[in-house]
Symmetry: C2
Subunit: 224 residues, 2 copies
Amino acid sequence: MREGPDIARIASLVGDPARANMLNALMGGTALTASELALEAGVSLPTASSHLSKLMEGGLLTLASQGRHRYYGLASAQVAGMIEAIIGVAEAVGPKRVRPGPRDAAMRVARVCYDHLAGEQAVAMLDRLFDRKLLLREHNEIRLSSAGASHFSALGIEIQAKARRPLCRACLDWSVRRSHLAGTLGAAILDKIITEKWARREKDSRAVVFSPGGKREFERVFLA
Amino acid sequence: MREGPDIARIASLVGDPARANMLNALMGGTALTASELALEAGVSLPTASSHLSKLMEGGLLTLASQGRHRYYGLASAQVAGMIEAIIGVAEAVGPKRVRPGPRDAAMRVARVCYDHLAGEQAVAMLDRLFDRKLLLREHNEIRLSSAGASHFSALGIEIQAKARRPLCRACLDWSVRRSHLAGTLGAAILDKIITEKWARREKDSRAVVFSPGGKREFERVFLA
DNA sequence: CGCATGGTTCGATCCTCATCGAAGCATTCC
DNA sequence: GGAATGCTTCGATGAGGATCGAACCATGCG
């Protein structure tokens, strides 16, 4: 009966269906209000509020108050990574989907992971950025080369190393089992994709759908 | 109220203290019997048995019957990775340890992760193997170079690619936040360390303690 | 100010599930 | 075969916690 970190406490927070739905919704990266999360989880507002305070107390969420709105978001990329890991196991053992449906197919191609792009497109992009030496592997970290710095700034992607958050990070993809790009740069790239309207977020889903023209542009810029 | 993989189901399996203790114990990599796990979790044998069947049904465990003994083990490295991720979050948010105690310090230096070595020593080893070009990074995978193949076989470390399991794999370390070596080769190296008596497994813990002479040998062979 | 809206707290209800003792199977040893 | 060991199933008990309605704060708007 050793001590150690209280893993059961963390896991049981994710282990309730209502809370799991909320966390899943927050994996989209945008912070949501209590009522939106209540709707998402399919519970009443009081119930949702109770769950949210538990998640807060457990350190899994952050809260940003803006006037009478209170926006809940995932506490950290580490928490997001944990949830992806759990999703990965659930996918693997779950005999749920006999065949992957169309929505799942879209998710495999491209989806939002916390605040950056994930899925086949994202994995291909990271590979290509390495090939073109815009990013460099260093031990197990990823570094931006000087060529990469000028390349991204030419694209109008702001690059500024925040204090706490690494610029580039590798994030493991549950669908492809390969890494894609996270960190500030990964977030900035997703931002560009959305603001340029190359792709749009699927309603009520993490899926990201490229328009035909947007796909061409994306491939020209990142997969060339 | 979307469908998707049943993440709550998986998380709730880990969310019970008794089950979490069992899984934690199994992170040591050796399969254990129901009575050992009952002792580990601090519950009676019937209770443990009930938990074990739930974990089996959830696909988190594998069972190997040998005579009247039934050995339970983690189902896959993916499950082990998920548990490491949860441990990582629990470490991060848990204000448990004010200061890391001595046992925790030993865990940080070297410990067993499923079936291979983790901790600072393991991270340093992987770095060095890359530097010496015994292992090569390829995209996000790790490949054994021909120099590496002869090097390991000279050490008497058997290298044979099993069908299902990759030879080399990167596994993220929760204490160091860097990768260490998993896969068949990682397991073989841990095996060598133990059989050569360079280090011993701490009783009732995942910690691995090197003897003074063993540490020298390990450093000569893997960190030179 | 008063009213509407977003959110939390309180209280009561209900149900799942963790727990253990006792009994039942299976395997091995003598 | 019989006894012992390892483990599972059954049944009863009990506690934690998920849920919602109603009441209660807080903010913003007219």
